[in-house]
């Protein structure tokens, strides 16, 4: 009874990854790499988005608006 309970808890805790039962093998290495990169790429991306939005704010007077789609792209 208790072992069933802990098995269920493991399944619940695994929630985000197993709910959609991916038919593709994402690969353990690929999975772990993403977790490792997450912090790095997340910070970089957030920085670029806010920087882009900031620039967009200043460009509004010249008639250009930073569109929602471009917020993730480099303002080059």
């Amino acid at each position: 009874m208790y072992s069933h309970f802990s098995e269920i808890m493991v399944e619940i805790l695994n929630g985000p990854m197993l709910k959609n039962q991916p038919y593709l093998d994402p690969g353990s290495g690929s999975f772990i790499l993403q977790i490792l990169l997450a912090g790095l790429v997340g910070i970089g991306f957030a920085f670029r988005s806010y920087w882009g939005k900031l620039l967009g704010f200043f460009r509004k007077d010249s008639g250009e608006e930073a569109s929602e789609e471009d917020s993730s792209a480099d303002e080059e």
Binding site: V10, L13, N14, G15, P16, M17, L18, K19, N20, P22, Y23, L24, D25, P26, G27, S28, G29, S30, F31, I32, L33, Q34, I35, L36, L37, A38, G39, L40, V41, G42, I43, G44, F45, A46, R48, E69, S72, A73, D74
Partner: protein
């Protein structure tokens, strides 16, 4: 033997499969996929992608599904003019397919969805405008906040690795995609790439470190990691952004100017080119085809005689630089009805994959009404020793109509080919060619090209 209408390539995804009924293509959507399908249709994602020409549209139909116990719905996707495979694409075609995949993923996340695979075979190029489009409607799943991207590995193998190899090593390495049907293994790519790729953060992470991580964690049970570490949506967007910028920066070492000079270098005067164009255009009208294949079409100079008449035309060439140049021109000038693809006629794409039936050889996919073989046959018969009769037989199996330009031995181009070898081609003459082709075709018309040694023929299969 049961007549299985399911497409041989459509078996890996339990969400559904493609099948034919009365020669029309349908897709069974399984109950397993119901939540995802409904979300796709109701969230606005489907509408946005179809409106922006990024996803193939479909209609829901009342049709008896082949597997009714599993079925949720049957849909009918819009059919494409031609199916091509990633190993037939030029660098920019593969790159555009890659960037489209990432764009779609970003858009999906805005609607609470995510791509569950990112195979290059999910992208096709439309004949209408040579633009890439996603054809796998069932590729989307509801996004679970916290999950990493399940298709990350596939993106790196199908797109990033081959593009990087083409950019840094040799453009011909796209052919590795023929051998590695699920994309190029990252350890192979990592080993082949030059050291300077390690100084690029994106390539370092997504190829080199990724390859190491794959090896290092191959036997690992990641569920323990999944319990404690998750990936926020911002991080996921950051990952996609990183892949996008890394992919976007990849450029081919390509001048593209050599092919522009092609007609200056060879044996055509201005009058000759004009006359050849007149003749070919006239013969196209006589054949009145629905689809044209220009074999050895180079940069599409003569393919355009058909495509500009509104006839869907595929320009095949063995030289990927020519395919690349044609593709860039089509994009820049927003041309229609022309699609360039890479093809080595002496070794065309074979049947590959499971049971050698998953990805079909060129002939099995579709065939045209008219093929053009202009300034081509000498490459096959002389350079490649294929007897004229075999060329005729092969062409006749492809299409009922043929426009052929024959270049005799007296022409300096052919003399150049024969310069370093023994002339073992006694039948390579006008008469010899007419006799060989006459076994499969009727010669409907022929005319010499003004100011040249060459002759153009219009032939109809008997």
């Amino acid at each position: 033997m049961k007549n299985n209408p399911k497409l041989p390539a459509s078996f890996r995804d339990p969400s559904g499969f493609l099948f034919f009924e009365k020669k029309k293509l349908y897709r069974q959507v399984n109950q397993l996929y119901q939540e995802n399908y409904d979300r796709l249709m109701k969230s606005g994602l489907y509408d946005h992608l179809v409106k922006s020409d990024k996803l193939i549209p479909h209609t829901e139909v009342r049709l008896a599904p082949p597997e009714p116990d599993k079925a949720y719905k049957v849909i009918q996707p819009e059919e494409l003019g031609f199916i091509s495979y990633p190993y037939e694409w030029s660098f920019s075609q593969l790159k555009d397919a890659a960037l489209l995949t990432l764009e779609i993923q970003k858009r999906a996340l805005k609607h609470g969805m995510s791509l569950k695979d990112s195979s290059a075979f999910n992208i096709q190029f439309r004949l209408e405008d040579a633009r890439p489009v996603l054809i796998d409607t069932l590729s989307f799943e509801v996004y679970q906040e916290g999950s990493p991207w399940v298709a990350y590995r596939q993106y790196c193998q199908h797109f990033l690795a081959p593009l990087t190899l083409m950019a840094y090593n040799d453009v011909r390495l796209s052919q590795l995609l023929r051998v590695y049907i699920d994309g190029i293994p990252l350890d192979l790519a990592s080993g082949l790439l030059p050291r300077r790729t390690r100084f690029n953060f994106g390539l370092l992470s997504h190829i080199h470190v990724h390859a190491t991580a794959q090896k290092r964690y191959a036997a690992e049970d990641v569920r323990k990691v999944a319990q404690t570490r998750t990936m926020s949506k911002t991080s996921l967007l950051g990952l996609i952004d990183s892949l996008e910028r890394t992919t976007e920066k990849l450029e081919l070492d390509f001048s593209g100017t050599e092919w522009g000079e092609y007609y200056q270098d060879t044996n055509y005067t201005r009058k000759a080119v004009e006359h050849k164009k007149e003749l070919v255009a006239n013969y196209i009208d006589q054949a009145n085809p629905k689809v044209v294949w220009d074999l050895g079409g180079n940069v599409g100079t003569f393919s355009r005689l058909a495509s500009e008449k509104g006839i869907p035309t595929i320009c095949f060439d063995v030289d990927t630089d020519a395919v690349e140049k044609t593709y860039r021109e089509i994009k820049a000038n927003k041309e229609t009805n022309l699609l360039p693809l890479a093809l080595d006629l002496t070794n065309p794409s074979p049947d590959i994959g499971w049971g050698n039936r998953e990805r079909r050889s060129l002939l099995r996919r579709s065939t045209p009404d008219l093929i053009m073989a202009l300034a081509l046959v000498h490459h096959l018969s002389i350079s490649n020793n294929v007897p004229l009769e075999m060329v005729a037989e092969y062409f006749s199996s492809l299409s009922p109509w043929l426009i052929l330009e024959f270049i005799p031995k007296s022409d300096s181009q052919v003399q150049r080919l024969l310069a370093t070898r023994e002339d073992i081609f006694p039948n390579y003459t006008f008469a010899g060619m007419e006799e060989a082709f006459g076994r499969y075709y009727e010669i409907v018309a022929q005319e010499d090209i003004r100011e040249s040694e060459r002759r153009v023929y219009l032939m109809k299969r008997e």
